[in-house]
Subunit: 521 residues, 2 copies
């Protein structure tokens, strides 16, 4: 981890209009990791050798076998297996080799080069494919902000948004669910942050929204809705166009799926997204597989980005190895391209100066850190970003909700009964073991998944605060808290299902056809 200028390359916070001679974003992550690790060595978070990781994997493999032999509860085994898989990934990242039982790491010539893609800060691991922490309260977002070099959304920014738009801030902002953004210290025409977005809005200068989803299955769960719920609110408040990317190509590259399946999932997912209530006159939803073959601007931008990013850089940011397919290696450019308005000539008439605001979960930030670094070098403005926290799994905030683990998730297709059963059975509780103890000592709302879900979905601030107080004091029992959540989610999901039923193939086609939107720049 060598870099010409250890400090300047961290400063995504400074105005970086001037092209970097080395690729800052790579250094950013690598250095912040290095710094964090050095700072926290006393906490046991020192860098480890491939051999140490190898031993960890071996030990965890043993632990899983013991749990299985001892017929431990399924959830316990699942968590242990998840940790095992994570450790194997870590091992591969550090050693450049796949873990093989009985084959300790060789002195790989690559090991000296490999840069961990995601930091282990304490136990938090956050990258576009994995979110894991040992903390029941979830990922330490304060630390993540430092590590990613982004900025906290302060009360002052939220107040300004309310002032400028004349609207009450969305509950996701009020409650720190969209908690981080990318800040630019000096005004700069080619860099952009939320403050400048607001400046622009006040000056009647417009911008557009970009968000997306990787369609890995037909089934979307509640966590998938978070960016779309918030994006819809932004679209309503600012009255601006929105593009939504469905990365069916990415899912094909990463998963054992056919192209046809990935494309079908994209179309199915589009129905759920449309059901969030987007304005068809201001929203373009696209499958990469389709739109790449329909746009005169998209592929040109992809190639421009791909010319300005090296393998070393994506290796540093995403942890790719020499064994990864060239499709994965070049994919980041495809997620980056929609950040530039020339990718949508039909919407922006070929203008390249329309600025872009990207609301997304913070695990997607590496893509856009890369994008922001490339932007000035290809003559485009940097996109602004608003980052959300993760939506916790039912089992607890150690991981995010995952469609591949049905018991961790409440799906948008679940019945009222399934919702009730899943919450009652699986939602990790911060309550005490007995009613008596709970009444006496109170519950822990900070680790209680039902309470966390309410912070996402219960609109009424006062009611939410009352619940928190009552649960903490012991006046509200776990069963009562769960009931409150069930009664919040059941109608929400039912309404979503009803709206989704209204979405015809014709409607999907409308949203997914490249066309002019009802907006003039």
């Amino acid at each position: 981890m060598q870099c010409a200028d250890e400090w300047s390359c961290i400063s995504e916070t400074g105005c970086d209009c001037t092209p970097f001679s080395s690729w800052a974003a790579v250094c950013t992550l690598a250095h912040i990791l290095a710094d964090t690790m050095t700072d926290s060595q006393t906490d046991g978070a020192a860098a480890e050798s491939p051999m140490e990781f190898y031993e960890k994997v071996t030990a965890q493999g043993e632990a899983v076998r013991e749990l299985k032999t001892g017929k431990a509860p399924k959830e316990e085994i699942d968590v242990a297996v998840k940790l095992l898989l994570q450790l194997k990934l870590d091992y591969k990242r550090v050693s450049g080799q796949d873990y093989k039982a009985g084959c300790p790491p060789t002195d790989s010539p690559a090991s000296g080069e490999s840069v961990p893609a995601a930091a282990e800060d304490g136990d938090d691991l956050v990258d576009p494919w994995t979110v894991a922490t040992s903390n029941a309260k979830g990922v330490d977002y304060e630390k993540l902000i430092v590590r990613f070099g982004s900025s906290k959304i302060e009360a002052e920014l939220i107040e300004r948004m309310e002032r400028v738009t004349g609207q009450k801030a969305h509950r996701f902002l009020r409650r720190g669910i969209f908690f981080s953004h990318r800040r630019v210290q000096q005004p700069c025409p080619s860099a952009l942050d939320m403050h400048q977005i607001l400046d622009a809005y006040e000056n009647k200068k417009s911008f557009y929204l970009y968000t997306g989803r990787g369609p890995s299955s037909e089934a979307m769960h509640m966590g998938h809705l978070i960016p779309f719920i918030f994006t819809k609110w932004l679209q309503d408040v600012f009255d601006i166009p929105l593009v939504i990317q469905l990365t069916d190509d990415e899912k094909y590259l990463w998963k054992d799926l056919t192209l046809e399946d990935c494309h079908r999932y994209a179309v199915e997912n589009a129905k759920d997204i449309i059901a969030c209530g987007f304005d068809v006159n201001k929203t373009f939803i696209f499958s990469d597989l389709d739109y790449m073959g329909m746009s005169s601007g998209f592929y040109r931008n992809v190639v421009k980005i791909q010319k300005h990013v090296t393998f070393n850089q994506v290796k540093g940011i995403f942890g790719f190895t020499d064994s990864d397919c060239i499709g994965k290696i070049s994919f980041p450019a495809i997620q980056a391209a929609p950040s530039f308005s020339t990718s949508f000539p039909q919407i922006f008439n070929g203008r390249k100066d329309i600025q872009c605001l990207i609301p997304c979960a913070i695990d997607q930030d590496p893509y856009f850190r890369m994008t922001r670094d490339v932007a000035p070098r290809i003559g485009y403005p940097k996109p602004a970003l608003l980052h959300s926290t993760f939506f916790p799994a039912l089992q607890g905030a150690q991981t995010k909700m995952s469609a591949s683990d049905p018991n961790s998730s409440i799906f948008l297709t679940d019945t009222a009964k399934q919702i009730k059963n899943k919450i009652n059975k699986h939602a990790f509780s911060g309550g005490r073991d007995t009613v008596e103890e709970h009444r006496k000592h109170g519950g822990d709302a900070d680790v209680d998944v039902s309470f966390m879900y309410l912070t996402f979905f219960l609109e009424d601030d006062e009611k939410l605060e009352q619940i928190r107080q009552d649960y903490t004091s012991g006046a509200l029992l776990t069963g009562e808290l769960k009931k409150c959540l069930i009664e919040t989610l059941q109608p929400m999901i039912t309404q979503h299902q009803e709206r989704r039923k209204q979405v015809t193939d014709e409607t999907v086609k409308q949203f997914m056809t490249p066309r002019k939107l009802d907006f003039h720049f």
Copy 2:
């Protein structure tokens, strides 16, 4: 350079329908290199360390400086500079670092991994970007066939082509200019060679042709015409559709050019290609930058290929390093994709079983070796290949004609006078120093560039043989031989220029519009 099965992985000659567990094509080149090198160690072609390459570059740099100081002839300096650049490339390939005077190679962890992309067999270097040899007769193609694992086009195959098509073989075949093909020993539905192409043709089963060009400038030279002249003949003889790829994206990625320039060069080059006489009803010419955004099939095939090729593999085949941009790394899939008929749904109605024959210069073979390896793994037939030799530079067959060196090339835009002057002034002669000596000992047609060019362009076999004999005996003087070449080329180029003038923007548009072709499969 380790591989599970040293020999099986060389055998592109065997039927390799079964997917390889490791990526054969990578091993193929790497091993053949290793073998060749070991075989020829007594010739001094042993593998060298980064330090040895570093010293070679330093020594050659000194040599160039001495030549310049001593005001040596320009041609001599040019050759020395070319060799210097080549050595620098070799150094980078082996060390993973750019050459810097006074900075010997560090112990790069990458150096142990790097595999030379192209062999130095004696002094021959052949890859998609460089052709260089120290032999005045040009590259040793017999050795190259062994190294690349292809097969010589034997007299028997040429006779069969004549029998099957009822046409005399093209002079490029008769004279060993198209000299190599990829052979399959056992009949196999998903692999294809020229024999099977002929079987198919006899059975009224059709196939299509694919060739291409990298549009690095507006100016095309005579060497660029070789694949197109031959492809036109194949199209006429077999009466089949043809697709021509203009890799404007590649040129943007490799050169210091704008996207707009590369695209403009593609359109300009298309005019010269059209002037070769292709049938507009059976020919589709496309710019990658345009067609990627116009086809429902092209990008899908690109992604399929990109999923099945790793960075390790392209590193082995093309010599890419970690410092290369991700665009270069993923580009080979874009040159591979047109080998599959589903990249052109408008022509082949979505059929995936139409077989493809690719005529190209042998330096393009690495792309298609990769393609042939991937094909069965994504359910497509392998393309068949016909390889040509290189068109020598005016200065001699040590390098091929290059548009970036105007004195090495006869351009399609040159006037009759320029052609005459270039040949008289620059064409390397195999003649003797004085007329007397020449009359007495005769000239050497094997190293004489004018004679080489006549083998490409003089149709009359008997006349060519007479010239060879007269030159070798001394009856024909160098000036007379050059005159003969000038009189062959001048009308050829003039006619080309006249045909090119007839090519209107409308005609270009016709050729470059994705559409049905006049052919039914």
